[in-house]
């Protein structure tokens, strides 16, 4: 399980919406060893120590040519700086980091991405398809603008996407939970599994539904992080059994039942 710190070339920048950006790096070493659900830490500055820390982003997609993508929303100074980087510039990446989604145990799966939680779902869907599986994919966003530019990539994989927007501007009107409510796995499914990433309240609601439906549920969690490599113990997340796990090393993907949700 090797990790790399490399200065890699930014080979493509895409403005998906006003404030959502997709960057493609030529990062063959990281791409070759990455699993869906893993993340990278990205240096945002080129000079100076402010902002000091790298920023974590899920791996959105990789390909065989060494391309690695991240998809992110511009929120603060770090993402602002990253959004300004130009094609041909070099960016320092650290990865692949953390434990990704568990892919092997089930034959039926549902992928639920909300907001920027969609990011890791593309890589995950891709990997499942390569295993010959056909996941159900539910993608939710505040508004259609944030969803539409991403659909083609999922469709190319040959998966059916159920789109839902909070404002009803595209797909169904409502929340991913409204759609998931009506999803029923075939009766004969072996270990059906739900993968989800998105705002914490969304994931909590999905987990609750999974408990009712007796489905195992994997969640990709966010915390503030300093190092991303298990060195600082900064990224604690409370466990149901007491104590803390570390999102960067023990996650970011967890079995939802192991976490303390305060539902």
């Amino acid at each position: 399980m090797s990790q790399f710190q490399q200065n890699v070339e930014l080979i493509r920048t895409e403005s998906m919406t006003r404030d959502v950006v997709r960057l493609t790096f030529h990062a063959p070493d990281i791409a070759a060893t990455a699993h869906p659900g893993q993340f990278i830490m990205v240096q945002t500055t080129t000079t100076g120590n402010d902002p000091l820390l790298r920023r974590p982003f899920s791996i959105h997609q990789v390909n065989n040519n060494g391309a690695l993508q991240i998809l992110f929303k511009v929120l603060g100074r770090g993402t602002e700086l990253l959004a300004k980087r130009q094609e041909g510039e070099f960016v320092s990446l650290l990865g692949p980091l953390g434990k990704g989604f568990t892919l092997d145990n089930g034959d039926a799966s549902c992928l639920i991405g909300g907001g920027m939680g969609i990011a890791p779902m593309l890589f995950l869907a891709h990997s499942l398809r390569r295993q010959g599986k056909t996941p159900t994919v539910i993608l939710g966003a505040r508004t259609g603008d944030e969803l539409v530019p991403l659909l083609a990539d999922f469709q190319q994989l040959g998966v059916v996407v159920q789109a839902v927007t909070n404002d009803g501007s595209f797909g169904s009107h409502g929340f991913v939970t409204d759609i998931f409510k009506d999803i029923h796995f075939p009766a004969h499914s072996i270990n059906p599994i739900v993968y989800t990433c998105g705002p914490r309240p969304m994931m909590a609601a999905i987990f609750l539904q999974c408990q009712h439906k007796n489905l195992s549920c994997q969640v990709s969690m966010e915390t503030t992080m300093a190092c991303g490599i298990g060195a600082c113990l900064g990224c604690a997340i409370p466990l149901k059994s007491g104590g803390y796990a570390h999102v960067c090393a023990d996650g970011p993907v967890f079995s939802a039942k192991d976490l303390l949700w305060n539902l």
Partner: protein
């Protein structure tokens, strides 16, 4: 080869292979191959860095603070970025001394790098008990005593802010420790020289400084502290000027070796701390940003000394020119 004179001070180049520089330093009875260590709490248990750093190139690694019993640590958020720095309130999460010895030390002792164990307690007895347990582990190169913790028996005043209490801890640990004892000083004091003198007189083999400055950050949208613990420790480049000043001050006060810590992120930073009088340095927060920093600092010091014909790091330590 000619001796090189820099600002009036002669630096004698080493005989023989001029591309080799002598980086060895002594911390008490411990000899290190070079003066570059990692700072406690920023390098995990070293294994996390194996993909990035050739650990055998480092002077030493200092591991996360160990207490008598395991500690779960503080609730999140535990870290927050600040201008050129960060605040942490990890809450001293650790597995406790027993599990450290049984689970961590076996892995650590085969890395080929001296391992220094940072310890912390709530009372003099607790510090001593941890040191006593660690004295049974031969492969421990040194003990670093983190005295920034509150003394629960004395109403929560930190050991690191009271010279008498700091001396008591030092003496207690020194009394049972086989390995050299480094006392790690807190910068949150009026006179750090006083603290250094107190622990030196109590038998410390070296002092390391600085630990973090106490700070706080507020999240405006929620009107709450950004750390669950409200306050935390400030580290990183932001604090380097304070660390450098304190190292300079303490190096002029005590005769035991001083280990400089605080905002070191490059060989240049390290060279400045050595000039100021530090016999060794520790790389902290920089490991979190660039996990290769510690090895880069070793390489950078070597290159600098070669380029400037400094034969031995001992010629450089304390060579600051103050007119």
């Amino acid at each position: 080869m000619e001796p090189v004179t820099v600002d009036g001070k002669a630096f004698a180049p080493r005989e023989g292979n001029s591309s080799q520089v002598d980086l060895r330093v002594n911390i008490g009875s411990l000899q290190l191959q070079n003066p570059v260590m990692t700072a406690s709490g920023t390098f995990g248990y070293a294994r996390e860095f194996e993909d990035f750093v050739n650990l055998q190139r480092l002077g030493a690694v200092v591991v996360k603070g160990i207490s008598l019993s395991p500690r779960a640590g503080n609730p999140p958020p535990r870290v927050v970025e600040t201008a050129c720095g960060m605040l942490n309130a990890i809450g001293l999460e650790n597995v406790g001394v027993e599990r450290f010895i049984s689970d961590k030390m076996p892995n650590l002792s085969v890395l080929g790098v001296p391992v220094i164990v940072n310890i912390l307690g709530d009372s003099v007895e607790e510090y001593q008990e941890i040191a006593r347990r660690l004295a049974e582990v031969e492969s421990i190169a040194a003990i670093e005593v983190n005295i920034s913790c509150p003394n629960v028996k004395k109403g929560g005043v930190a050991f690191g802010t009271d010279p008498q209490m700091a001396a008591a801890v030092t003496q207690a640990v020194k009394g049972v420790s086989r390995a050299p004892v480094i006392v790690k000083l807190s910068p949150n004091v009026t006179d750090i020289s006083l603290m250094a003198r107190a622990v030196a007189e109590a038998g410390a083999d070296a002092v390391s400084l600085i630990n973090t400055l106490i700070g706080m950050a507020i999240d405006l949208p929620t009107r709450r502290p950004r750390l669950a613990n409200v306050i935390g420790g400030l580290s990183g480049p932001a604090i380097k000027p304070v660390a450098l000043r304190m190292v300079y001050q303490v190096a002029q006060t005590v005769s035991i070796p001083v280990i400089g810590v605080g905002g070191i992120a490059s060989a240049d930073d390290a060279l400045e701390f050595l000039l100021a009088g530090a016999s060794a340095v520790q790389v902290g927060t920089a490991n979190l940003v660039n996990p290769r920093t510690s090895e880069e600092v070793v390489a950078g010091i070597s290159a600098y000394f070669r380029q400037h014909h400094i034969a031995s790091v001992r010629d450089w330590i304390g060579a600051l020119q103050v007119s």
